[in-house]
Symmetry: D5
Subunit: 112 residues, 10 copies
């Protein structure tokens, strides 16, 4: 479902940052919705992610039961597989539950 | 009392941040309640801490007399023993007393 | 337990505002602690509330099970009975539970 | 689905404010999710709204297609019918779409 | 070009607020672009403004030379003619020029 | 020196707000420069103030020795004489001197 | 000790606001220093307060033991006696003690 | 179109930062305007960019259809060609579209 | 006057941060009071500073004439002598005088 | 014109930060005033800059025509010549002109 377009400046290492404050999924234990902000930062190699397809991809989690740690790692894996970026980082910050807020920060670097 | 669940992405070094702004204990000298925000940051190895059990664990200090420095170090030690994380940091920021605010920042790194 | 001292400027209508950001009680349904900020505003008549005794009075709720609406109204009633102020307002703002924050705002005016 | 409990201080006019920053529904035209913060302010008469049931009630809109103006008015109507409050106001602030943010503010006063 | 839809709650006086932070036009004197935020607040009567058409309508000013005061009054007039609202207010806040920032605030009330 | 242009919407009472954060004059007592932000709010009658001429007019005070209260009242008087506005308010907020900040707020209403 | 200068615009009702964030006195009970911000707002009649003398006047409280309520009312009384202003308000906001912050707001209006 | 002036301190490595919050171009896919803030940071070599010409240069993109990634890289390339700076960085932060915000960060270092 | 207590976790390098926003001394040149915020950060060795004694120690400067640079270095020296910490840093930020704010940042590291 | 006093702690490397938010000079091209904030950070060697003389020194630029880059470098050079500091940095942040804000950051390190 995720779409890409060609990186037209592949000779330069540069960073694209994408902030998605409207992420929502469902807690698999309680069935209650979770809400969070996803911040992607990546150095593209040959492909960049198309924003509209990213939006639709993230909406797939709207009614899916999945834990914070798993959803963050899974989305990073999907992005790595799709884009094969030189470097990518994902910061997922979820809203408080029971007075406690959680963030998960994952990172991937292409091997030389 | 602290519970864990399996880290399903052990091949990746990633950070989990947990912010608990509702920590309270009691000053052993004055008997007066102390209030603070605990921020945990850790790289899990085989286990992650379960959030609900963390909440109950922290509530155990609600009526316990203990100094800032001791409670911060003790909680870090408990987390280290429980999770054996690759790295963990705890920042405990307490509210002002007598016009003076105190934070305690402790850190532990697994030996290679 | 609440203590007062004499209002030495009774001929003037003036306002005293007291902000207590460290209020905590217990939810009678879940047994879980609640946290909030109490803001008092009042026009004293003959007596003003002594701050240290107010602190001790509020600490009495630390381990007591009581709902938001009840604790706010009860504290206002206690202050009215103690001070017989010309006017008093209490704003109680509690921290989020289940993604929802609640405030209760109560007010009392002395009859002419 | 919405639950109530008895107002134990009916002789006093006081305000309860409830902030729900995790509201989401679906745009009936585009099928895309909408996100917003609902702020309720009301003076209870005989009944107060139970917070957990309010959370579940609002979750019913999660996958429902409905316009900003309609959902705000409908929720106010449901609250009025349920609580028969002396006064109630609902401010619904939605996140930007196409660079434009919208809020809807509705109010109801009990007839004397 | 501006489109409307039916107000389905005409029996209630309620407020719709629309914030457009991406307004731009051209200064007729210098030919330089102006930038501002338009905030509409209105009580609908029979019709509400459709947001997408409002976006396109405001884009018409993108390359048009027009003064702050005139563009604000003209947009209000267009909205009044289109919606015949019970009340409408428009706050136009422009970015600084020569170290000076200007806002124009216009208002219209339907005659009884 | 102050210039005006015609108010093309004289049938409507509306407000123009102009914020000038770069005002500076000189303290007549110490010879030291003063700095402040001037905020004008006015309802135009037949004429509006031209912004560039306002900028030049305010620069005339750059090296002039004049007290806070006098400069604020004098500028208001000049604006009243120039524009004969239906209503005008000027808020002048000066930066701290000796740990003390001062604002002067003056207002003028046209007689009916 | 407090000095005044002539109000050169007595025909106009206007407001002078003076913010003093560096007020300090001593608690008569504990001997500990108190700190606060004093905000004066007044409409001058024939005289305005000279700022340097106000600074020296406030410094007289530096080592004086006096309660919040008394010091606020006393300073207002001194200002009223000195300036005979048409209206004056004093907001005194003190820093937290024992987790509790206090403000005292006093006001005086000249009789017609 | 871009103009330069001589760097009169070429013996010192120093940084010039230029923030342009009023950048706008057009999305080539939807034809809708994009808005963003451009932040330049560079160490000049022999030439510095003239600010007025930079403003006019950026206005050329006002009605041009170009993607975020391309416009950011293109502007950096133009600046590099013009100034041959020792180092330059450009951060382009665009406003949200479909609930998603994007920034592009590009950098260039002169070869030794 | 400064008191200490034993560091019960000497095997771990950890940081204690203490913020004192109510520091005041006197300018030896003008006799006018100075105000500032002192922020201590240190890694304890065998002893930690007792907070109440720190408060009293800092109050000793209340009426003492001493320059910014000297008071900051002197307090650091006293702390070093008292605690023999592994590392200590003191940031002293003073309020503006004549439109100019000053901070002094001093640091000490124990020799190995 | 710039005055110094002896550094009484020359054996320690420490930082003095001085923030001057009231800097103003004149654009040599347009004759219009420029406004900015100057932030100095330096490690003193034998001498420190006296603050009052710094204020008078900066006021010399009040009516002088000089470009951003030149005034920043010139002031740094004057400070270096006067103080011969171990290290010094100057950040000059100017207010927006034509929608564009500029900062100049210069630095000097004493040769060993």
């Amino acid at each position: 479902m995720l779409d890409t377009f060609e990186n037209t400046y592949p000779n330069r290492d540069y960073v694209i940052e994408i902030v998605c404050p409207e992420f929502t999924s469902v807690c698999p234990k309680t069935g209650q919705p979770d809400y969070g902000t996803l911040t992607f930062q990546y150095i593209p190699d040959k492909r960049c992610v198309e924003l509209k397809s990213l939006k639709f991809y993230l909406q797939q989690f709207r009614n899916e039961g999945i834990f914070y740690e798993n959803v963050t790692n899974k989305i990073l894996d999907d992005m790595v597989q799709l884009l094969e970026p030189r470097w990518i980082k994902l910061i997922a910050s979820f809203t408080p539950r029971g007075g406690i807020s959680t963030s998960v920060i994952v990172e991937h670097k292409k091997e030389a």
